[in-house]
Point group: C2
């Protein structure tokens, strides 16, 4: 593939930003990679590991002269970072993000970027693990994973093509939908499960017998709660950013749990079997977990 | 180890029964293994795979002449199977089960076994995968996994020692507690997570956009819902058998979800961060999922 980035700026060199840098480097798709992030410790580690060629002192210094800018920060910080970099962007630069909620990011980007909003391509790689930071990054994170881009009518088509080419070079399978569709679907496939896992582990922590519970944890419990080890800042931001969709699903799930509790209470063997069997068939179609990754 | 079973009867040659047979055979801890089960197809497969030496036509034929009897059937069928085999048990036979709820099994066993109740050692290996049947069985399933035995004051100590030795030979780490303690702790570490996973997948199945949701499923969703692919008959029985403990936890979880929804609704950033961070710390202590197994 002829796709090549001359100078790539990664704002937020964590699991996602670091893995993207590694993947593009491994493919020979990038010249120089510069990074900026909040903590000096993580940035130094990124340089030491060779994930980035150099660290800059500010986001705007990192984007200066870069043809591709990837903003991989918690979505609560997105607007501020985009505002900071706007005036330093080179005229031909393309900007993208990796946030897990898209509509609020688009709103923030429109407000922050002004005329450069057309060069901003909202994106979300559905990949990750429960670990954070550049030390957790690896080049294969996006291999055969889905990346969703949510351009809008204002977005420059050439910019979309470049971001698509970047993710394809990193090994991902790129798909396009509207930001609203994305947020509706991801609320179910990702945000609700994370909220449920955090709530469950937190409930257990507050039980007197929590040591015995953790001591008797089998692989099922471990798998079910793995996502509760994810970064709390990132997920707090996601829950708030996608609150309308998340609350709708959470309400529906609470109704369903009431139905489940009632069926158990009245000993409704048939209802329980039907429900479990329907879920089992659906889950089996989804296939096995043959990946290490989360989202 | 000198521990040896001369003739082992497995009633229900599925994932658990089959894996136990394979493990004991691999250790040279067993002479002959005979099996009985509901479906001829699975039994024939067990013989073909060499998991059992022979299939019998009835549970009582299988236990005749056996010194160790492992009943590995859904807990709803336990009482009936134990009643069926009682009169065929050899005078020195020890009987154990692998049910995921212990107090109801003990009640059923007491009623079904009469004077032989003292030779019954209630057991629960916390191991398994979401797959069922003898084809899913493997000798290493119990390696370093916890097995909980819940003997009561009536149980013969020599019988407990034999069942403990059997599971130790299979590679497991054996622990003893009361049936009530077991059911209380397992309701949290296993039964509630399974109920929540079934309810979530079933909710998604009933949504119009369920294809898009499954299509956007990352590793997090896959891990979180893996246990919903478990056998519906087995889990229906567990939910009903442990209903008091399960309903108490389900009620508490529903309260917690209400609190979570309210915090999201009022945009309580601090509450959300605190809750997620507390769960994250606890889950990190539990460690990574370095096993293929569930329960």
């Amino acid at each position: 593939m002829n796709y090549r980035i001359e100078r790539l700026a990664i704002i937020g060199v964590g699991l996602i930003g670091g893995s993207l840098a590694r993947a593009l480097r491994a493919q020979g798709s990038v010249g120089e990679i510069v990074g900026y992030g909040r903590t000096l410790e993580n940035l130094s580690e990124a340089v030491r590991l060779g994930v980035i060629d150099g660290a800059e002192n500010s986001a705007s210094a990192a984007v200066r002269g870069s043809d591709m800018v990837v903003v991989a920060v918690p979505i609560g910080s997105m607007g501020q970072v985009l505002e900071e970099i706007r005036d330093a962007l080179s005229p031909t630069a393309v900007v993208t993000d990796v946030g897990s909620v898209k509509a609020p990011v688009v709103t923030d980007a429109r407000a922050a970027l002004g005329t450069r909003f057309r060069d901003f391509v909202p994106g979300h790689p559905i990949a990750g693990t429960e670990r954070s930071g550049v030390t957790a990054s690896f080049a294969e994170l996006f291999a055969r994973r889905r990346v969703i881009l949510t351009p809008n009518p204002d977005t420059d088509l050439a910019a979309v093509a470049q971001v698509r080419a970047m993710w394809t070079a990193a090994g991902a399978d790129v798909k396009t939908m509207t930001a609203a569709e994305h947020d509706h679907v991801l609320a179910a496939s990702s945000h609700l499960p994370h909220a449920l896992a955090y709530a469950l582990v937190d409930m257990f922590v507050r039980l007197d017998e929590h040591r015995a519970i953790f001591d008797c944890a089998g692989g099922g419990f471990r798998d079910f709660t793995r996502i509760a080890a994810s970064d709390p800042t990132m997920w707090r931001d996601i829950f708030l950013a996608n609150r309308v969709e998340l609350l709708a699903l959470l309400g529906q799930y609470q109704d369903d749990l009431r139905g489940l509790a009632e069926a158990i209470e009245r000993g409704d063997s048939q209802w329980l079997w039907d429900t479990c069997a329907r879920a089992q068939r659906a889950r089996e179609q989804l296939g096995a977990v043959d990946e290490s990754g989360g989202d």
